[in-house]
């Protein structure tokens, strides 16, 4: 079966999943004990004000009768599918939800990006190293470290780390170390980073032996600011990667194709890079792909603890303030991402492992 057809088919199959997810969300939010009018106006609102608000929120017709649930459901579905996210009810009254999300996206993506990268570039090499040196002391240290990283829950680790780095913790100097950054809070490092696209403009160019080099200052500043939060967010994936990377290498190392490659006279280095490497990536792929959910969805807790003004923080504020349009829009985006990432993972599999083909079982 060819690839475009498969992808089209999978996307089509994603539609019912999307509908199911949206319906479930709609039911939970609309049938639950959330009263947006109460949330916005407070307990002392006059009946007239409440009525007017209900009309403006679209849950009551101007003639006074309530909008039936199924009409609300239909409107909601049409709005979502046409990417019309509407305006916020409570957090920032009448502000477009889309703009609110886009405004907070950079912080979340920056956090997710580094949490994935840190986990990838630490977790996988450590795992591979442990597998190649199995049952040595360095392997025991790496494996134990992997378990510990995996076991520490985000909410605990985030609180501990932010405590250590600020407010008189042991590592209180972190904020002033090398480059001055905030540790908790939304740093304006990010604005520096995204406002100055030209690396030679904006901030003073460093001269290194009279040769101008791109000023990596904003980049370093933004990286240093996000590092603690990224470490926490990536911790469990990092632990997973150590464990699974180690197992994958060990399994590949003992396989007969490695013996055969040796019997062909292939050098040990090439055996590791070519013959073991690619086989070890196969079981790591779902772990790595799982991490990419962090880019959007996984950061609620970490963003809250480190006071980063990103999507996760927006979501939690929307939930506490009964801001249904914001919540709905975010859930819609999460579901969409999930479907696309799953599809991407399945397609990637076929590139990494030729034994997996895109034939579907329904044929």
């Amino acid at each position: 079966m060819n690839r475009p057809l498969y992808i089209a088919k999978r996307l089509l199959l994603g539609v019912p999943v999307l509908l199911f997810g949206l319906t479930l969300t709609f039911l939970i939010l609309y049938l639950g004990p959330i009263d947006p009018v109460l949330a916005i106006l407070g307990k002392d609102a006059t009946p007239t004000a409440a009525r007017n608000l209900e009309i403006s929120l679209g849950i009551r017709y101007p003639n006074g009768s309530l909008v039936p649930l199924w009409v609300q459901y239909k409107n909601f579905l049409v709005n979502m599918v046409t990417f019309d996210f509407g305006t916020s009810w409570a957090i920032a009254r009448d502000q477009p939800v889309a703009a609110m999300i886009v405004g907070r996206l950079p912080a979340t993506i920056w956090l997710g990006f580094w949490s994935v990268l840190v986990a990838l570039f630490v977790g996988i090499p450590v795992g591979l190293y442990a597998g190649l040196n199995s049952n040595s002391w360095s392997d025991y240290a790496a494996s134990f470290g992997g378990i510990v990283w995996r076991a520490m829950p985000n909410f605990w680790l985030a609180v501990m780390l932010s405590g250590l780095l600020t407010a008189g913790g042991v590592l209180d100097g972190y904020g002033d170390f090398l480059i001055k950054t905030d540790v908790v809070g939304t740093s304006n490092a990010l604005q520096h980073l995204f406002s100055g696209i030209d690396p030679f403009a904006g901030v003073p160019v460093l001269e290194f032996f009279w040769i101008p080099v791109p000023n990596l200052g904003p980049m370093a500043e933004a990286f240093k600011w996000i590092l603690p939060a990224a470490l926490v967010l990536g911790s469990s994936s990092m632990g997973n990667e150590v464990r699974i990377g180690r197992t994958a290498v060990l399994e590949s190392l003992r396989s007969e194709y490695v013996d055969t490659a040796k019997a062909k006279g292939v050098s040990p280095r090439r055996i590791i890079v070519k013959h073991i490497g690619r086989n070890a990536v196969i079981p790591l792929l779902p772990v790595i792909m799982g991490e990419f959910y962090l880019l959007i969805g996984g950061s609620v807790l970490v963003e809250k603890v480190f006071s980063i003004n990103g999507i996760g923080n927006l979501f939690i504020r929307a939930a506490f303030n009964s801001d249904i349009p914001v919540m709905m829009s975010l859930v819609f985006i999460f579901i969409l991402m999930q479907i696309l990432f799953n599809l991407l993972q399945d397609v990637l599999y076929t590139y990494i492992d030729p034994r997996i083909t895109l034939s579907d079982t329904t044929e």
Partner: protein, 362 residues
Amino acid sequence: MQSTTPTADDDPRGESILSIRNLQTVFRTDHEHIRAVDGISLSISPGETLGIVGESGSGKSVTARSIMGLVDAPGEVLPESSIVFDGTELTELSADQYQEVRGSGVGMIFQDPLKSLNPVYTVGNQIREALRINRGITGQEATDVAIDLLEDVAIPDPERRLDEYPNEFSGGMRQRAVIAMMLACDPDVLICDEPTTALDVTIQAQIVELLQDIQAERDLAILFITHDMGVIAEISDRVNVMYAGEFVEKAPVEELFANPKHPYTQGLLDAIPGTSVDDERLNTIEGDVPTPNQPATDCRFAPRCPKAFEDCTEVHPTHVSVSDTHDHSTACLLYPEGKSRTERVEHHRSQAPADTQGGAQE
């Protein structure tokens, strides 16, 4: 004249390409040393096939891996061992030098053809890799040579097959592809570790035939390891019967099947289904191969041997020639024939210390 040195038949023509003296491979665990290969000697000449036959656990595969230098910790080839390939003492080579010998010098085919090809690379890629490393052939030329090699091993439509992955090949095709890959290395000695065991019988015959053709074409020396007496009869020129890390009998193939001397060899031949049609039950050798974790001071087959007597548990038998016309020797207290039991036991007893001290007397 009857020679009684343990290595009498190992290099009959003095032209061997691979010759092994007193190979000892031990696996060290916390509580014991398992002597998986315990002082074996053999030699192979170009164009010749030496079969090694024995039950599972007798040390056949460890022998193969020892020759290839692929014994991993906790295994170790003891320093008294000698493996001479084409005039080079392999046991003294560094890891890098050994890597040079593997492939272009000694190649090896493993038991399971599905597992011995890397699943994530095309068959062509893996053959070209062997060509590049061992013969420096790259690019379009490598592709052409690879196509020729696949043709040599009778894979139809080789040009298309080159771009396919191992999982797209059938079992027999895979083993052919593995053979083509090893031929790409252009080795002088090919070790085949049960290459037909995972295949069904008709395919087995094809592979054996293919190996014979290739051998005739390239004057290849083949060390063929199997537990299948039928395959051994088909392919070997000479056969060494292995038991618990030692060779118990060495003979040319017809001689071995016609006049098996060692009770173990006799037991193996009796156990072939179909040799005695009238029997209702298949013949077996009771018991299992023991784990050789002590230096041999007795006959390791004695506990299972129908002809054992009390001295068998006390004296370690050495190889004695049992034929005037053939290169046929066996390690058993029942021989040399024609002497009294006391004489025979005394003969083996007098040989024993030399054997345990290394065995390389020449």
